[in-house]
Amino acid sequence: MHETAIVEGLMRILEAQAARHRVARISSVIVKVGRLRAVEPAQLVACFEMFAEGTVAEGAQLKIEAVSVRARCKACATEFEVPRFRFECPGCGGGDVDVVQGQELYIESFEAAERLPSGGVPK
């Protein structure tokens, strides 16, 4: 259940960003999750719903965009999508590769639904 720790990080960012942009309510959040991060989307959503209660993000929809794994062969420089964690270069059969995509775990953006009245204090 490392999803709880990840959602804690997400909530910290959302609350700080909401305060900075004077946002009173967040309606949706887009998070990019690389397939090499071993994060379970359903658990992430369930945790988020729980943690968001009573915050600016209560009721917001968490959209998780999975990022496929891509690698570049060190021997022949072929870049390829890695199917099912088989890190074998389709060009030369080599297995010594650099992962170029699939480690992502970041918040891309969120939708702000309401702005705080001027002078208002963020929740």
């Binding site: 720790a5 946002v23 088989r86 890190f87 775990l105 918040i107 702000a112 702005r115």
Partner: protein, 255 residues
Amino acid sequence: MCDNCGCNVTDGNRHLVEADHRTIEVLEDLLHENDRQADHNRAHFDAMGLLAINVMSGPGSGKTSLLEATIKALPDRVRLAVIEGDLETENDAERIRRHGVPAVQITTGMACHLDAHMVHDALHELDLAKVDILFIENVGNLVCPASFDIGQHCNVLLLSVTEGDDKPAKYPVMVRAADQMLITKTDLLPYIEEFSVRRARDAVREIRSDLPVTELSAKTGQGMGPWLAWLQAMVAERQAKFRRHAQGYSYAPHR
């Protein structure tokens, strides 16, 4: 009518309330705080010239037994310390202390992994100036620990022969994160005909072809040699870096 549930929004005032519907781009890593703390831990380790190793496996693969055997087998001049991570109990730290090695137990309660903040708190209980290798034994779990940088220099992954030779294929993220893999409890191989070392090695190679795999038994000591040699090579490399760094400082002009 209230400001909470949206019942104050009518067709007449909707344009005023929702006029500011906008997308705010963030692009911030969700584990940013952990990663920052991990970098801070690593800076501590580097300043002391010590090697920090994150030891990971499923529960019961023999992490603590391996550390005990390693403590006994390494020459005394290599100074060790251990941080133990478990949900509950002080048992593992006590096992390590019986060998005269300082050990700090982290009990995570419900957390299934160590994070950089927990490790940082534990560091305050150790005299890092007197340590060459700091082993950080993570919570037994083949999923979560791989996601959290704790400031280590390298990851060692254990797979015991009682777990099945397809474990690497089942937990590929962990295999990708490893710098050294140990197939442990090989003294039991004669009794477990289902486990094929060759199949386990093949499964590892598909995921990470350059990962060194060593077979050993902490109980009999068989195969410990290559593991100890790898450890000592890693320590030597770290200390060489440390000396170069220290020299760089001493040559800097003083003001």
